[in-house]
């Protein structure tokens, strides 16, 4: 446990010191999105990696958080700090209610149902023009502020978003090591066996679904208040798939893995920009190569690779 805490402290320190290295360049802006995507990946990982339930509709919850926050603050003049928890609670309740029928489904039926849910939410964003501004988007969302401190620059937003992200990491680590986490893993391995030893697997799945939705919604609110403009295109099926990819590439069931996956897939397009029209091909090929050579995700694959390299080097020295 102590080791866990030390690891987290080191991670947090690194996150806090990062801005010193960049002095407010545009990469700060990208790192803000790394933070938001890390939150989302962890949320999805709780569901997929721990409880073993797939979701192809998480962009919907992300979008609901963003739109609820955005509409309440931009159109109704609410305080953002009030809108954010209200959005999260609303999305949580919605997920809880819809979780009962949806999580009864298994395998590809579950994939299909969550996909459908995501698409329905996306269409609602597009069609309720009076409320959401429709496909043209919603602008004029205020930045968050504490007293006189307005989070209106990349550096300020960085600390804001990463504050939430670190809290999410801490929460997820705690959850994973708690009784609930163990019960979840039992459900993952065998639902029947878990039921036999007294885990209310159905309720547990629904609860984790709701928790996952709540964190996604919080990430959505943060997104809305840092971007100050949102449009439905950011919350479509493609983004749900991208989130899934982040979780798997990072490593299923690993919190730090989710961070690595989110960081890699958010930063990758920045590196690939130099490749111009070839970027999309390289991106696709990299995804495939990574799953082929690191089937356990970055969090397991990188240390393994490192060990192999050491061995190789050792072998060379012997020779």
């Amino acid at each position: 446990m102590k080791k866990e805490l030390l690891k987290f402290a080191a991670f947090a320190l690194l996150v806090m010191l990062m801005p010193l290295a960049f002095k407010g360049g545009y990469l700060m802006n990208v790192l803000v999105f790394v933070g938001i995507n890390t939150m989302l990946s962890i949320a999805l990982n709780l569901l997929l990696g721990y409880a073993g339930q797939i979701s192809l509709g998480h962009a919907g919850f992300f979008g609901l958080g963003a739109y609820l926050s955005g509409i309440l603050t931009a159109s109704y003049g609410w305080n953002a700090w009030l809108a954010m928890p209200l959005a999260a609670v609303t999305v949580g309740i919605l997920a809880y209610l819809i979780g009962f029928p949806i999580l009864k489904l298994k395998g590809h039926y579950l994939a299909m149902a969550t996909l459908g849910l995501g698409i329905i939410i996306y269409i609602v964003f597009n069609e309720t023009v009076d409320l959401t501004g429709g496909p043209s988007g919603l602008s004029g969302i205020p930045n968050l502020a504490i007293g006189g401190l307005r989070f209106d620059s990349d550096v300020k937003n960085y600390y804001l978003v990463w504050g939430f992200t670190l809290a999410t990491v801490l929460f997820a680590l705690n959850l994973a090591n708690s009784r609930v986490g163990r019960a979840l893993r039992a459900v993952h391995d065998s639902e029947v066996a878990a039921r036999v030893v007294g885990v209310n697997s159905r309720l547990l799945k629904v609860q984790i679904f709701a928790v996952s939705a709540i964190f996604s919604s919080l990430a959505g609110s943060l997104y809305a208040h840092t971007m100050t403009f949102i449009s439905p295109a950011s919350f479509g099926f493609n983004f749900s798939v991208e989130l899934l990819t982040m979780v798997v590439i990072g490593g299923l069931g690993s919190i730090y893995g989710s961070f690595l996956g989110a960081a890699l897939l958010t930063l990758l397009p920045e590196f690939l920009r130099a490749a111009h029209d070839y970027d999309i091909i390289i991106y696709g090929a990299l995804l495939m190569v990574m799953v082929m050579f690191m089937p356990g995700g970055l969090v397991r694959g990188v240390p393994e690779l490192y060990r192999k390299l050491i061995k190789l080097k050792g072998g060379a020295d012997h020779a």
């Binding site: 690891k7 080191a10 991670f11 690194l14 990062m18 290295a21 960049f22 407010g24 360049g25 545009y26 990469l27 802006n29 990208v30 790192l31 999105f33 597009n126 069609e127 023009v129 429709g134 496909p135 043209s136 988007g137 602008s139 209106d152 990349d154 971007m227 100050t228 403009f229 949102i230 449009s231 295109a233 950011s234 730090y256 690595l260 960081a263 890699l264 930063l267 397009p269 920045e270 590196f271 920009r273 130099a274 111009h276 029209d277 999309i280 970055l298 969090v299 990188v302 240390p303 490192y306």
Partner: protein, 379 residues
């Protein structure tokens, strides 16, 4: 912790790489175009045109003896990416002005960045919301969709066909058009009998058209960009709909005629003058700009230019003129942009002022009809 170190070193590396590219003594202009993604039909010609104009300016000696440098990024039609890249242009590349983005959604997303960093933005997108209300640092070159709607409605009023059905695409372009179609109807005495939408990736619109056929509409107005309207034209032909179809300026390129084939015969749309430049009278003030743009584009890319590239032509030329008159600081460019009067561009004749950052009137459009797979001006 090893993994984190690796990630960090990657980040550092890219930072170093991105700061290397700077050359002394050039004036840097940033450009955001959606060269890939769903709006590539806009971003592609826009990037080509912008680069071409900058090359031509430099060949002719640059601006006040200094060369222009255009830094183009591809936003892929993604609002989040557009914001990141706008930040990158301003903070890392230190540009003095930005042309683009290509779409209204991206432009709306980028506006707060330009306003906050005090960098003039000359958007190439159509939505009226970009410059209304007026934002201090934001201008645009594409004709307002409001003007296109007014042009169609005036035409319909003239030929006394005032009962219409509208069919709009459910993306930024279509919903902005739909808003304008509904808002201006009453003013022009137009009655909207049926109001339908279709998805940008839909492949069959016979259901919507069947519904429209059942109404008493005298004209159908379709608001979308390729390929949707081409499919609609074909569907309408399949259903034997005789009601005349009106399209938006979003399909004003030869591509549309190619896609819709025979079904495009007789369709009408409002369009910028670039499509019909050779048919314009000699006295038309835009004719000179238009012909030089069309000729340059043909020489550079061995392809026919369309009105979309024209938005970028106008944007770069406006910025260049502003630099010539006022100097290369962002604030001076902004002030000079606002003072632009009677600039004959591709999209129309621009007159910016403190209360108008779009600068065009509905005369920027002409009604054209498709006849024998070519454009004709409707008198």
């Amino acid at each position: 912790m090893k993994k984190i170190q690796i990630v960090c070193s990657f980040i550092m590396l890219s930072l170093v790489c991105s700061t290397i590219s700077f050359a002394a003594d050039t004036i840097k202009i940033g450009a955001l175009f959606s060269v890939t993604g769903p709006a590539s039909f806009l971003g592609g010609p826009e990037r080509n045109t912008a680069q071409m104009v900058v090359d031509e300016i430099n060949k002719a000696g640059g601006v006040k003896g200094r060369k222009l440098e255009l830094i183009v990024y591809d936003t892929a039609g993604d609002a989040t990416k557009a914001v990141q890249l706008a930040t990158k242009l301003i903070k890392n590349d230190k540009v003095v002005a930005i042309v683009g983005p290509s779409t209204s959604g991206e432009s709306m997303a980028v506006i707060p960045v330009a306003e906050k960093e005090h960098i003039p933005l000359v958007s190439c997108a159509a939505s009226i919301k970009i410059t209304e209300p007026v934002k201090k640092w934001v201008f645009k070159t594409a004709q307002n969709d409001a003007l296109a709607v007014a042009k169609i409605y005036e035409h319909l009023q003239k030929i006394k066909q005032t009962n219409v059905a509208i069919l709009t695409v459910s993306d930024g372009f279509g919903s902005s058009g739909r808003e304008q179609l509904k808002a201006q109807a009453e003013k022009h005495g137009i009655k909207i009998l049926s109001d339908d939408t279709y998805g940008p990736k839909d492949t069959d619109m016979t259901a919507q058209l069947t519904k429209i056929r059942g109404s008493q509409a005298q004209a159908v107005i379709v608001w979308g960009t390729n390929p949707g309207p081409a499919i609609i034209a074909k569907n309408a032909r399949q259903l034997g709909i005789k009601t005349p179809l009106y399209m938006s300026h979003g399909v004003s390129s030869k591509k549309f005629i190619e896609l819709a084939g025979d079904a495009s015969e007789g369709l009408r749309l409002p369009s910028g003058r670039a499509l019909v430049a050779d048919m314009l009278p000699k006295s038309d003030p835009q004719k000179k700009s238009l012909l030089s743009f069309l000729k340059d584009y043909q020489n550079h890319f061995k392809a026919e230019a369309d009105t979309f590239g024209g938005h970028a032509w106008d944007a770069v030329m406006l910025v260049k003129n502003a630099i010539e008159k006022g100097g290369d600081s962002p604030a001076a460019i902004r002030d000079q942009l606002e003072k632009t009067r009677n600039f004959s561009g591709i999209s129309g004749i621009f007159n910016f002022s403190e209360s108008d950052h779009a600068g065009l009137t509905k005369d920027a459009f002409v009604m054209i009809e498709i006849k024998n797979k070519d454009w004709m001006i409707v008198k």
